[in-house]
Amino acid sequence: MSKIKAMTGNQSASIGACLSRPDVIAAYPITPQSSVVEGLAAMIADGKSDAQMVQVESEHSAMSVVQGSAMAGGRVFTATSAQGLALMYEPYFRMSTLRLPMVMAIATREMTSPETVWSGQQDAMSVRDSGWIQVFVENNQEILDMIIQGYKISEDKDVLIPMNVCYDGFYLSHLTERVEIPSQEQVDEFLPRYKCEHVAYDPQNPMAVDPLTPGEILINYRENHLQSMQKVKDIIEKVDKEFKEKFGRSYGGLIDTYRCEDAEIVVVTIGANVGTARVAVDLAREKGKKVGLIKVRFMRPFPNEKIAEVLSNKKGYAVIDRSVSFGWNSGVLYQEVKAAVSDLNQNLCSISAIGGLGGLDISLNHVMSVIDVLDKAIKEEKQGQLQTMWLK
């Protein structure tokens, strides 16, 4: 039977990982992820998990160790944040392009410089083109659930792509709230043990893994990887349904929508801010504004069709980002959403709002102010991109 417990996001991540029965865990502590490593170490020390834990000397080695274990046929887990992810980049890219399935938790954090240890999504957003699946979650329950689902998605034979479960540093990693923990038996039924078949680093089946590969062959791998990434979209929906049947919770697949049916304008956001935006939408509705909300769950694969479908009959949208896209005067998610709706040819009124950097709060008032600005612009029949809002 499942049980209910008050837990931090990091505890939720380590319990989710533990329930997925990884063979090997390698991780290195970094704020705000450290208590994930500590939690896993404690569970192994107490015999609650039989995973092999490798206490590596850096994130670069953490990702390298799990690559080795995955190639030798294991299910693996690691977690990191910001600079750790940056240090990991070399084997990180390799993990996905070797098509080795795994789940890595990212407690998202602002990138240095300036020196900072606090929240922001710049780390995970900056590596969105590294060939990983990336899900961003709204609360601690979703962290745990998506780690378990993550293995199911990632290990699907039509997928074989590793997955990041990204959750806001501090605002979720250190937030304590109610989480329902499924029983090991339930998880075992949902997620059977992993069997690696496509690469073997095994004397019983000698092969060269990753020989020097010329471009005319390499391009096929990339094409294949991109096609698989598109297939992931269906697998995510499928796994979400299976998960609901087993555990009673559904997250709606690639995106979730809130009060969008009759909405004129839509707030689009990602991560922990979604919860705040839900409250803001309710408040704005009380004030007579026809607002809806799109929760973008997956950055990769990006749910462009779903977003375009929701926005196709709207007047405008506002995207609230916790990261910036250098070179575009906007947030990262804004760019992606804008690209997604470009085929609609509707010149929707849109606004990019950036906040929550370096640990800053995106308050209810911030979200309300974004809604107000967009609502006013719509009433004035403005079109196209409005000036970027900085939520300070």
């Binding site: 063979d23 490798v54 390298s64 390799r94």
Partner: protein, 300 residues
């Protein structure tokens, strides 16, 4: 069975035609390592001469008869840590887990993952074939390049004459990790070489084993290919590259040179040292002497 018989009757697990240079020390060492290790092995060969020479395969062809992976230049030891952990979990500790990495992948950017894996006592045999530089890409300096050596990044110019810094001495650094086994090997002393690979493989089942091979490079160093073994022999006889081993917390000198030859005898064989003046050679001799003295004290 003596070492010659062992080599006579063992299977060559490397492709018969691989594109290492004529007289390549690395090729010789790789073949010997795998002859001794046998087919129940997995090997990781990071970017470097051996990887570049085709043993990691090209297109879909395999250059080795055992599973091989070309890890990143800087993660060989951590990658194999993961492999090793998984093999332990599967109860297959009989499989030899071997790294065959150059000095760049070992002593430079690969050092962090190496020291981490050694400190954790990961079960593997890590072999460094030290040819004193990045030979695969045209002989750039590495931290194991000998002082004064000419390389493509430490040229002999009007102001600067070769590498200004001394060689990083990896064997003692690795021994001080208090690992299961550490030894230095030279292809010139093949009996010692074979025995140490065997010992290293055996130790790798219990913990971390590190072998440092002196691997002469005719192309980069500038000596005729037929002199490879002679160069290696003179490195040993001059105490430039002492043959030592470390096990059970004790250091041992395997080949004692009662009357060592001058280091100049070794240096003069290679073009990369041709420009050295007498005082430069004297400096290197002094370094060699003091290193040998230290080793002798540690080996008491």
């Amino acid at each position: 069975m003596n070492y010659i018989d062992k080599l006579k009757f063992s299977k060559d697990l490397v492709t018969p035609g691989m594109s290492a240079c004529q007289g390549c020390g690395g090729e010789l060492c790789l073949r010997r390592v795998l002859q001794i290790a046998g087919e129940n092995s997995v090997i990781a060969i990071p970017p470097g001469c051996m990887a570049g020479a085709g043993v990691v395969g090209w297109n879909f062809d395999n250059g080795l008869k055992v599973p091989v992976h070309i890890p990143l230049l800087d993660n060989t030891a951590s990658f194999l840590s993961g492999v090793s952990q998984m093999y332990q979990r599967k109860g297959r500790e009989d499989v030899n887990i071997i790294a065959f990495a150059g000095d760049g992948a070992t002593a430079d950017c690969g050092f962090q993952s190496l020291t981490g894996a050694a400190e954790r006592g990961e079960h593997m045999l890590y072999i460094c074939y030290d040819n004193e530089g990045y030979m695969n890409t045209g002989f750039q300096r590495s931290s194991t390049t000998t002082k004064g050596s000419k390389t493509s990044t430490t040229p002999v110019g009007i102001v600067l004459k070769g590498k200004s810094q001394s060689k990083k001495y990896m064997p003692l650094i690795m021994a001080m990790h208090n690992i299961e086994y550490m030894a230095t090997l030279s292809p010139s002393n093949m009996k010692d070489f074979v025995e140490k690979i065997e010992k290293g493989l055996e130790a790798s089942k219990r913990g971390f084993a590190y072998l440092h091979i002196f691997s002469p490079c005719p192309t980069g160093w500038g000596y005729p290919p037929n002199l490879g073994i002679e160069v290696a022999r003179k490195a040993v006889k001059s105490n430039f590259f002492p043959l030592i081993e470390f096990e059970n917390g004790k250091l041992k000198i395997n080949v004692e040179n009662k009357n060592p030859i001058g280091v100049g005898e070794f240096l003069k064989l290679s073009n990369k040292f041709k420009h050295l003046r007498d005082e430069d050679i004297a400096f290197i001799q002094e370094e060699v002497n003091s290193r040998m003295e230290l080793i002798k004290k540690l080996a008491l």
